[in-house]
Symmetry: C2
């Protein structure tokens, strides 16, 4: 039996799942074990892979299940957190109503908590990453879409219907004339600030750009080589159009940050994902936050980039399990 509490964090994604044992200070005891999710093999196979990933993670740390205090599991939405179910996420087809939490709890006979993967990543960054000195933190994850998580002290804002922190769908532009988002609406942050949207905006700009630009070499309708990384790299070399795109992206992300400042007024705002690398880009976002946000809070809010990369999810959900074990029961007689 280990002398300090140890937790397994399992982060399930559409392509792979990752797990490791994490100690009471947020340090993984081994490299994460990675297995293929293969949702097309069905949810029963998926549940078995989750259990096997957990077993291998414990073995990788040279431990047995008896050393583990609790398990945290994070998956993409849609989900029903109270019931512990994956509902029917688009990237885990054909899974439907998968009883993730109960299955893992029954197999390992250990307390098991279940989280949204973006919220888990936010808690990971808050616990031991970019936000480790923050008192409250909002994470924006910039990938195919824009995800998010809101951490208020030891409270992970999961939402009443498991949809807390869907920050990509805050509006930053006109609901009539703004860009169309994957959710069907117009003007959502995701339609401007995701890596995919950066590429789409670049194609639109290229169609009208009269000056020289290295991006023109990438201008064909379905050129897979045009990625956010390529655009950011070309901007770094001084290309005018690419710099405009990067600057616009900083502006749009800042508008998203301003919306969460007006709502939850956090101590720190963190951006994660492949675009969130260069200090000049972070500084530009921060500059726009100060320029466009509410005067009083923007003077003090911190803007940072994520530090844990793709490890944030399994570390964060292990942290969520730790938090659940340490929480005292609510005092009686107080509503809520």
């Amino acid at each position: 039996m280990a002398s300090t509490p140890l937790f397994v964090g399992l982060d399930v994604g559409g392509t792979t799942m990752k797990a490791a044992v994490v100690d009471d200070n947020g340090t993984p005891l081994s490299k994460p074990v990675v297995m293929n999710t293969e949702p097309e093999r069905g949810q029963e196979a998926g549940l078995e892979t989750m259990c096997e990933t957990i077993r291998r993670a414990v073995a990788a740390a040279k431990l047995t299940m008896a050393d583990i205090t609790a398990i945290g599991v994070a998956t993409p939405g849609l989900m029903d957190l109270k019931a512990g179910l994956i509902l029917d996420p688009p990237n885990l087809k054909p899974w439907k109503n998968v009883p993730v939490r109960d299955r893992i709890q029954n197999v390992f006979k250990l307390p098991t908590i279940y989280q949204n993967d973006a919220n888990a990543a936010a808690y990971g960054e808050f616990w031991v990453g970019a936000g480790q000195d923050a008192t409250s933190m909002v994470l924006f994850t910039l990938g195919t879409g824009v995800g998010g998580g809101i951490i208020l002290g030891d409270y992970i804002l999961e939402g009443e219907h498991s949809h807390g922190g869907e920050l990509g769908h805050m509006r930053i532009e006109s609901p009539q004339y703004g860009r169309r988002c994957g959710c069907g609406a117009r003007g959502c942050l995701e339609a401007y600030g995701s890596a995919s949207s950066v590429v789409r905006r670049t194609r639109d700009e290229l169609a009208e750009w009269r000056g020289p630009s290295k991006l023109k070499a990438y201008y064909t309708a379905n050129d897979d080589e045009l990625t956010a990384k390529v655009i950011f790299d070309i901007a770094d070399k001084g290309d005018d159009l690419a710099r405009k795109i990067v600057d616009d992206t900083a502006y749009y992300l800042a508008l998203g940050a301003c919306a969460v400042i007006a709502t939850v007024d956090p101590d720190m705002i963190v951006f994660g994902g492949g675009m969130a690398v260069a200090e000049s880009f972070r500084a530009k976002i921060h500059e726009y936050v100060v320029r466009f946000g509410l005067t009083h809070p923007v003077k003090q809010v911190k803007v940072a980039f994520a530090k844990l990369g793709s490890d944030a999810g399994f570390i964060g959900t292990a942290g969520g399990a730790r938090l659940a074990m340490k929480k005292l029961p609510r005092p009686e007689g107080v509503k809520g």
Copy 2:
């Protein structure tokens, strides 16, 4: 000594302040005592009036200070909640850096908590008003501006810099082409959904409206008789233009609701203020929320109108004091 805990709630506004003793179930023990704030007499006079209002509220309940467990005080922002200071709110000029919490605590030698007035009103509605059966709730207050408060179980979201729940400054329209808000930005909810903005939008519509409308009688640049109430009353009688204004208002408020759904995903959204009366208006807002919000949470979110009127503030801040007294200390070793 009373057998159950009793709390004084004091709600300070720009014109008047109100206080009453509230019992452990959220019931005021008397009508609230109302005194004039008269900020122009200076902050020392203001602090003395606050203490006097509290004394009279206790006397009105036929009690003595020895019967009181704790005091809650709510004021408009700007404020520094941690330091217990009113900073320099526009409607309390010339007050500046007023040590509200410490003064009241020192005078009465009782635990004293300090809150933003909109957050206090939100907690009042959550505790014993429209949200009394809700597990989490967001309040929008529609007046000269749009204020707000976010309640997550027994957590009142005050924000790191005392600016949690500034919901009027979430964006619902274009930052370039949207209506100008008092905060300087464009496209804020407040520029569309406040009672003052409803009047401004009506003047703009009247300038272009070709059909008949009873509102035309009110169309002079500075006609004080054109109020949101007049517009809503005329809409009730079937006037086409007034109905369009009311319908547009429901749409804009729904967009604000959709933004908080994407952020905090509450159980219930409540609107308060003079416009939030007719069931047909509530139903219209709800309809637009379902039409424009995130599919999964909008199926279940509740939309309601406030019930406590202007009593929500003093009841809510008494409730905040009660909550502070009942809260257990945070467990040790847990971050936050």
